[in-house]
Subunit: 218 residues, 2 copies
């Protein structure tokens, strides 16, 4: 499929690289078409990889991935343009973490709203699916690197869009039984509000050791 | 030890019952000394069990457990009385869930504060430890009922108080490697903000099946 990955950070790189390796046509989008990170990525990522502005990436895509920081996601999507998002699956991987006051960060939106719901309200013609935001980038695209079973979450108001995203997660290596559909997009509140606990667990992890949570059930 | 369990709901019952079974002297505290739930519990819980007002329970105790709903915890602790909390380990198991607007509930405090920190600020002479709030009551006191390894968290500003609480968690059956000390009491924000995700997972669980999360690490 033709996929736009908006964002040139570690999450954007992990997702774009994995999608190219799976045979998708991927455009890494950034604020300026000539962004050096995007250009450098496209030059080494192999066939199917290209780079462009947010608008160029989104215009060419069937699926748009928001891999920008949550604090700038609305600005990035505005540059992508409502027309280029209309009717498309919009995978929101962002977290609205505000580190401006240091650590621990706060969330710019939470409790009775989420960045995912904000995006859906702003672009009602897009079909927003929240997923993967609960994980480190390397684990998102390679769940097998952790020993034992662990889980990824999906939320959204459009069942067909969620099915498309579940398909991509399975391509990434997520076992169907560990892709947890939490229901409507308001479940994104919990997925984003998990981050403060994730960060505290992260701080106590042995240096460089990736982790995730697995649901242990009776 | 002499332990006050403030609260007569499912969490209070689970904790008070387990603590009595382990040989502790437990007073279940409630708003009124003659509360039928407290009296009924004390009558059947066996030797070491008694019931009383919040103040009576806290006055007699070395350790006080706040097992009231987060929305009423400050009122309950005010009735317990600052003098009866001073110098004591105060185990906060509460979650500030507000269901007044229906489901999903919101949190009455979150993001840049927590109910645990609010309690610590209100009672600076108490030594507040946040724990067990991330779990269903039956799992709190019987971690072995779930198959496989899973985790419980601890946070607080007083190392000696945390050590006391870790000892009680081990008495409950929590393996030392799965009692995760997250650091200072500000980590309670993340532990409380986990609840919205917990609730969404709970809704998708098979009827009546308890669960928890386990940290899966490289």
């Amino acid at each position: 499929m033709k996929i736009a990955v908006l964002g040139t950070g570690p999450v954007g790189h992990a997702l774009a690289g994995k999608l190219v390796s799976l045979g998708h046509e991927v455009t890494m989008g950034s604020r300026e078409a000539g962004n050096p990170k995007g250009t450098a990525w496209a030059a080494q990522a192999g066939p199917g990889a290209s780079a462009g502005s947010f608008a160029q990436a989104a215009a060419a895509a069937e699926i748009v991935v928001n891999a920008t920081s949550g604090t700038v996601s609305l600005a990035a999507l505005a540059e992508a343009g409502a027309r280029n998002l209309s009717g498309k699956v919009l995978i929101d991987v962002s977290n609205p973490l505000d580190f401006s006051a240091g650590f621990p960060p706060s969330l710019t939106v939470c409790n009775t709203d989420s960045i995912a719901e904000t995006i859906q309200r702003t672009y009602p013609q897009a079909r927003v699916v929240k997923t993967l935001n609960t994980l480190s980038a390397p684990v998102m695209v390679d769940p097998g690197r952790l020993p034992g079973t662990h889980d990824v979450f999906v939320a959204g108001n459009h069942e067909d869009a969620k099915a498309t995203v579940v398909g991509i997660l399975q391509e990434f290596g997520w076992p169907p039984g560990h892709i947890r559909d939490l229901g409507g997009l308001d479940a994104a509140r919990g997925m984003e509000m998990w981050l403060p606990l994730w960060l505290r667990i992260f701080l106590r992890q042995p240096e460089g050791k990736m982790f995730n949570i697995g649901i242990v059930s009776e």
